[in-house]
């Protein structure tokens, strides 16, 4: 019970430490993008440093735009015919008038290998940067994709369905019409206060196009999770699993070997109640074994041991004064069982330290009484100083005393360890012939 309470208390402490830590762990992860966004808001223009000569086309295009707001790159000269260009210029003039801002239209290839890394929005920002003129910038690339950016243009711009070419196999079919429609849509878009847009994804620096963010190991939270939650839970689970396994094993052993080996669980100061219950059980077990064992070598011994044990048990009743008689009944009943099970007419005497431990397996010096005494396996493995605590004690006039200090038949025979006529002497003690 206390184990449960303490465990619960430990877990509570663990949670108390872990819970305030959790938001602290989460905050940096959430804060990082916010910080980046704030930084790019303060610095709207792309910060890309070009190696020498890499901005040649930016110079070329922006120089041309300063002279003529419609720029069609020579590489895409075939994309717009003469008539198309005239119509486009007219639409540009109208849009410029109504927007109150200059309008620039650029038709230029923008491959992935361009200074803008193929990002059309980034290219328009770069051109705006060179030209240093606010206005409405519209471009088409070699795939026929459109892109528009308004720098301080008093309109609200949203996504346009016109931006990708309807037929990717013929990207320039109807290009002029799409450009003109895009200009007209922008002109008639919802008015809004003029603002400077932000370039959210500037191109990578040169030579770092393939650089991927290095995956960082996040060590803190798995460590804390293991430390405060999984570790303690696993320890508790393991602890209880261990206890369960141990108790299961000892139950299993008791079941297979019966009570013949009773060192564990044999009390040093048994109550009369315990002795009566155990004695009844042992007697019942022996009684059940007797009829089938007719003619066995151990049968004679077992039968007389049963008689003696039964009489001891019946005569002793619940009398505290006759505690040792009850112990003797248990010892005799067990010896009877052993005689039958082992087909042995002379079963071994019980452990001298505590006869309730079960049969002895060897003899050793116990320092409890002079010389060697029979002891069970468990007592054989113990140092001498540990033995007194294991001695069977029974109630006496001055409190509990060791069983071998009580005068009588049990001390004289040492429960069968002394002499070879244990059962007859017990029967004699009981007044039975």
């Amino acid at each position: 019970m206390t184990a449960c309470k303490r465990t619960a208390a430990l877990l509570a402490v663990a949670f108390a430490i872990l819970l305030p830590a959790a938001p602290a762990l989460a905050v940096p992860a959430l804060a990082a993008p916010a910080v980046r966004a704030a930084a790019s808001a303060a610095e709207p223009r792309p910060v890309v440093s070009y190696p020498p000569g890499a901005d040649r086309r930016l110079v070329r295009v922006s120089t041309a735009l300063a002279r003529d707001p419609l720029f069609v790159d020579p590489e895409l000269a075939f994309a717009l015919g003469k008539a198309d260009r005239a119509r486009l210029r007219a639409a540009m003039a109208t849009a410029g008038r109504e927007l109150g801002r200059p309008v620039f239209v650029v038709v230029v290839p923008n491959p992935r290998e361009s200074e803008s890394q193929g990002r059309n929005e980034a290219l328009l920002f770069a051109l705006h940067d060179r030209l240093r003129r606010d206005g409405f910038y519209l471009m088409a690339d070699a795939r026929g994709s459109l892109e528009a950016v308004g720098f301080n243009v008093p309109r609200y711009f949203g996504y346009s369905e016109l931006d990708s070419a309807p037929d990717s196999d013929h990207p320039f079919t109807g290009l002029a019409d799409r450009l003109i429609k895009r200009l007209d849509d922008s002109r008639t878009a919802t008015t809004a206060p003029p603002t400077m847009p932000n370039l959210w994804t500037p191109p990578d620096p040169f030579g770092q196009e393939d650089r991927l963010s290095t995956p960082e190991a996040e060590l803190k939270s798995p460590f804390l999770l293991g430390l405060f939650l999984i570790g303690p839970l696993a320890a508790i689970a393991l602890y209880w699993a261990g206890r369960w396994a141990i108790s299961f094993r000892s139950i299993a052993r008791k079941e297979t070997k019966g009570t013949r080996q009773g060192a564990r669980g044999a009390p040093a100061k048994p109550t009369v109640r315990w002795l009566r219950r155990t004695g009844a059980a042992e007697l019942a077990r022996l009684r059940a074994m007797l009829p089938e064992a007719e003619g066995d070598p151990g049968h004679t011994y077992a039968a007389s041991a049963f008689d003696a044990a039964q009489i001891l048990y019946d005569d002793a009743g619940g009398d505290r004064e006759r505690t040792l008689d009850l112990v003797g009944a248990i010892v005799l009943a067990r010896q009877g069982q052993a005689a039958l099970a082992d087909k042995d007419p002379t079963p071994r005497p019980p452990c001298f330290v505590n006869p309730l431990h079960g049969p002895s397996t060897t003899r050793r010096v116990t320092k409890l009484v002079p010389g060697q005494s029979p002891v069970c396996e468990s007592c054989d493995g113990k140092p001498v100083k540990d033995l007194p605590a294991k001695v069977l004690r029974v109630p006496g006039p001055d409190g509990p005393r060791p069983h071998y200090k009580v005068p009588g038949v049990w001390r004289d025979t040492a429960f069968g360890a002394k002499g070879k006529d244990f059962v007859p002497r017990v029967l004699e003690y009981l007044g039975v012939d």
Partner: protein
């Protein structure tokens, strides 16, 4: 130098009739090639260094055959690939020699030799160079490899026994990223294991110790 190039482009551009047709594109490129047999686009500085044109010229000069080179990103969309463009350019220039049309990153190019003269197995040499180089090697490196294979006189052999293609920069970077990710994962597992052991073992020891004390 740059200003001069820009001026030339503007002049050439102004000279082209602004009609929407692929042949107009060939006309314009032919005009450029008449002035300079090597045309390198300025639209792809990330694949082509500033001195790309000079390096290509040095490479093809070793062939000893007149060579026209067009490095351009424009895929024509309308049924016109590098092969058709080479035919159109040859029609307009009407000159024998080797014609190369290739994209800035060096992939998907085409080569053709017109007329007699020194016989180089240009087709096989180009295929071998194309297949031996990483996808993002760049036109300058691919042309250089093409020249080397063509001059070796064993273009056919090279084509049949290709050298292993080195991984692209993207591939290398992805692999490195994967490795780093695995390392990070291992370290996270290790941290979890260490935390679990530190949190679990003392508690288990404490529970066992307490149990022993109370049952003895």
């Amino acid at each position: 130098m740059e200003g001069l190039a820009a001026c030339l482009l503007v002049v050439v551009c102004a000279a082209i009739p602004a009609s929407a047709s692929p042949s107009a594109r060939a006309d314009q490129l032919a005009a450029l090639l008449r002035r300079d047999p090597v045309y390198v686009t300025d639209h792809a500085p990330r694949a082509l260094p500033a001195d790309a044109a000079a390096r290509v010229k040095r490479s093809v000069a070793r062939l000893g055959v007149r060579t026209f080179v067009v490095v351009t990103p424009v895929t024509y969309g309308e049924d016109q690939g590098p092969e058709e463009l080479i035919s159109l350019l040859h029609d307009r220039l009407d000159r024998d020699g080797i014609y190369i049309v290739v994209s800035p990153n060096g992939s998907g190019g085409e080569v053709r030799q017109f007329g007699t003269g020194r016989t180089l197995n240009a087709d096989d040499a180009w295929i071998a160079a194309d297949l031996e180089m990483p996808y993002d090697a760049g036109a300058v490196a691919v042309i250089d490899r093409f020249v080397e294979i063509a001059l070796s006189g064993r273009a056919r052999e090279r084509r049949d026994n290709l050298r292993p293609r080195p991984p692209s920069r993207t591939r290398i970077s992805l692999d490195a990223h994967d490795r780093a990710e695995r390392r990070a994962e291992q370290r996270e597992h290790l941290a979890f294991g260490a935390g679990t052991a530190l949190g679990g073992v003392p508690l288990l020891a404490f529970l066992i110790w307490r149990r022993r004390k109370t049952t003895r």
